[in-house]
């Protein structure tokens, strides 16, 4: 008889935890975002009943994000930074994953370990490493002036978009290479042999066989790094600290850690989460599909 409730009761503590500390907190964000603000203390007054929600702050945030609003530039900049970083990650990451999966031979284990290694090095440590290198008298400037690429040291850490994009690529690329590797490694080599036997050139074989078969890995990995990049605020803060390079995440951070208006921060968080839900939905769907085919570990 207890067969029926054994398994659900095992899941109960975990599910209960996630409802209490993942689902309910998100509702708290909605409550604050659609709430009001105490006129004297400027404290947020959440409204828990959706029927009474006050859309004033949400309108304010959407207004600021719309063309002409004060956050329009920030929104566009966020999208441009993420798009450029993603493109660079793919351009660098695909050949690496391809080589590791297809041609590494005896070195495959070693290369795989070296590719996974950055995942276990703290993100802050890796950013710190670049902050050291990019100082005015750091190795990068010394190398570039020594080779006469630059006539004088450049201020890399004073609000330069290229530095922020470089840092984003450096920070997130390991999370892209791994799913790419997994999907390329799964491709059956006999497909390629068949393509070559039927007269395809190496390039044609790559374009018509390998690339389509690695599509799940490309899209899955791209979504996996795009989501956190959209919510990033620490990377621009570390390598630039300038409002010229601030992203949407920086605005949220500012309204909670710098300013007195958590309500606006909460409303902006809701907008960001809504925008990212589409990306999330795609990722969940692709995991779900991959799980049905191979099991959970390979899918990630």
């Amino acid at each position: 008889m207890y067969r029926r409730w054994l398994w659900p009761s095992l899941s109960f503590p975990g599910v209960f935890w996630l409802i209490l500390l993942f689902v309910v907190p998100f509702y708290a964000v909605l409550g604050v975002a659609f709430g009001t603000v105490d006129p004297i203390l400027f404290q947020p007054v959440p409204i828990w009943n959706p029927l009474n929600w006050n859309v004033g702050w949400m309108n304010e945030v959407l207004h600021r994000l719309a063309p002409g609003g004060i956050w329009f530039d920030v929104g566009i900049r966020t999208i441009v930074y993420v798009a450029l970083s993603l493109a660079l990650c793919l351009v660098i990451g695909y050949p690496v994953a391809y080589y590791a999966a297809r041609h590494a031979g005896r070195l495959k284990g070693l290369i795989l370990i070296l590719i996974i290694l950055p995942l276990w090095i703290s993100y802050m440590m890796r950013m710190l490493a670049w902050v050291n290198l990019l100082q005015t008298d750091g190795y990068v400037n010394r190398f570039l002036t020594f080779t006469h690429v630059l006539s004088q040291p450049r201020e890399w850490l004073a609000g330069s978009s290229s530095t922020v994009i470089l840092a984003l690529v450096y920070g997130y690329i390991p999370y892209l290479i791994l799913p790419l590797f997994a999907s390329l490694d799964r491709i059956d080599r006999s497909h390629l042999e068949a393509a070559r036997d039927l007269g395809a050139s190496p390039w044609q074989a790559f374009r018509t066989v390998t690339l389509p078969l690695s599509k799940t890995g490309i899209l899955g990995g791209a979504v996996l790094i795009t989501l956190p990049m959209f919510g990033d605020y620490y990377t621009p803060n570390i390598v630039s600290q300038s409002p010229k390079t601030s992203m949407i995440g920086n605005q949220i951070d500012l309204y909670f850690h710098g300013g007195p208006q958590p309500t606006i921060g909460a409303a902006l968080t809701v907008v960001l989460a809504g925008f990212l839900t589409l990306l999330m939905a795609y990722y969940l769907w692709s995991i779900h599909r991959a799980q049905r085919n191979v099991g959970a570990v390979g899918a990630l």
Binding site: L6, W7, L10, I19, L112, L114, L117, S122, A296, V297
Partner: protein, 306 residues
């Protein structure tokens, strides 16, 4: 004149052709890919090694190398990791959060994975769905929501260590579930069925057969949870109340924004070595516990490289 010039350029041209031929040789190794891959690996690891090197610098500079010293670890009476209370407390806080996270998230995650893998009734779909969400939610969204829930709804929990532990467990559970479920898939159901045929009740089959088989995944997920908790910055920062509740990543973050000393490199290096040690131990334990089982090496690596 022209003849001389031609004679001079001719060998250069052929070297270039030879170089191009070596590079594009379709029967040899794909040199372009080799080059890109090793360049990437150097690019991804060498900056970190340089940062570790400068943690041993004798002077206060993080950019100009002087000589080797352990000053920033314990030598300096004020600013070394050992003597600076903010750095020491950050280290303690990081290990405290990671340890508590492992102790809570691993059991919860293992039970959840078992339940979700075998439970097919009403509510299992929704539970599966909720479990996947923390994996894909940007940390800033989780940070904001946890901060607001602790300041507006569950006001009896204040920001600080307890809130940080609760937050860390919330994002760790799903990683445990994914690792354990991968293992459950590869074990299959035959061992449980054999136990049932021999008269074991589902509970006995679970504790005497399934859990021992899951040990490698439990050990691996403990290592992974420790590492992701120790590396976490966003959740720790949003739920920190400052002072002693700042973790190492928060210290590194605020130090790089001010004028950091090599002691920051030193504390980052300590974290780096401990995380890699834990992950390596977890990986070796996984290999040891699954020895003799069929399967590809890359499956193991995927389990830890999540």
């Amino acid at each position: 004149m022209t003849a001389v010039a031609e004679r001079r350029t001719a060998p250069q041209f052929s070297t270039l052709t030879r170089l191009r031929g070596w590079f594009r040789n379709p029967w040899g190794k794909p040199r372009f890919l080799v080059l890109v891959t090793w360049a990437y690996i150097l690019w991804s690891i060498v900056p970190v090694l340089i940062a570790v090197q400068f943690s041993f610098n004798e002077t206060r500079s993080r950019t100009i190398w002087d000589s080797f010293s352990t000053r920033w670890y314990w030598g300096d009476p004020v600013d070394s990791v050992w003597h600076d209370p903010t750095l020491r407390h950050a280290l303690v806080q990081t290990f405290k959060l990671a340890g508590a996270d492992v102790l809570i998230a691993v059991p919860l995650g293992v039970l959840l994975a078992l339940g979700l893998a075998r439970w097919h009734g009403r509510g299992s779909g929704a539970s599966n769905f909720i479990m996947l969400f923390p994996l894909v939610t940007p940390e800033i969204v989780m940070g904001v929501s946890l901060l607001l829930v602790f300041t507006q709804l569950f006001t009896f929990i204040h920001t600080g260590t307890l809130a940080q532990i609760l937050g860390h467990v919330t994002f760790s559970i799903s990683f445990v579930v994914v690792i354990v479920r991968g293992r459950l898939f590869s074990i299959g159901r035959q061992y449980e069925e054999a136990a049932a045929d021999l008269g074991a009740s589902p509970f006995v089959a679970l504790t005497r057969v399934l859990l021992p088989l899951l040990t490698p995944a439990i050990v691996a997920s403990a290592a992974v949870v420790f590492a992701i908790s120790a590396d976490d910055f966003v959740i720790s920062q949003w739920l920190s109340k400052g002072g002693d509740t700042d973790t190492v990543p928060i210290r590194i973050y605020s130090a790089t924004r001010a004028a950091p000393l090599p002691s920051v490199n030193a504390i980052a290096s300590i974290m780096l070595v401990s995380t890699l040690l834990i992950v390596t131990l977890g990986f070796l334990a996984w290999r040891f516990l699954t020895r003799g089982e069929r399967g590809k090496k890359s499956d193991d690596l995927a389990a830890l490289g999540l």
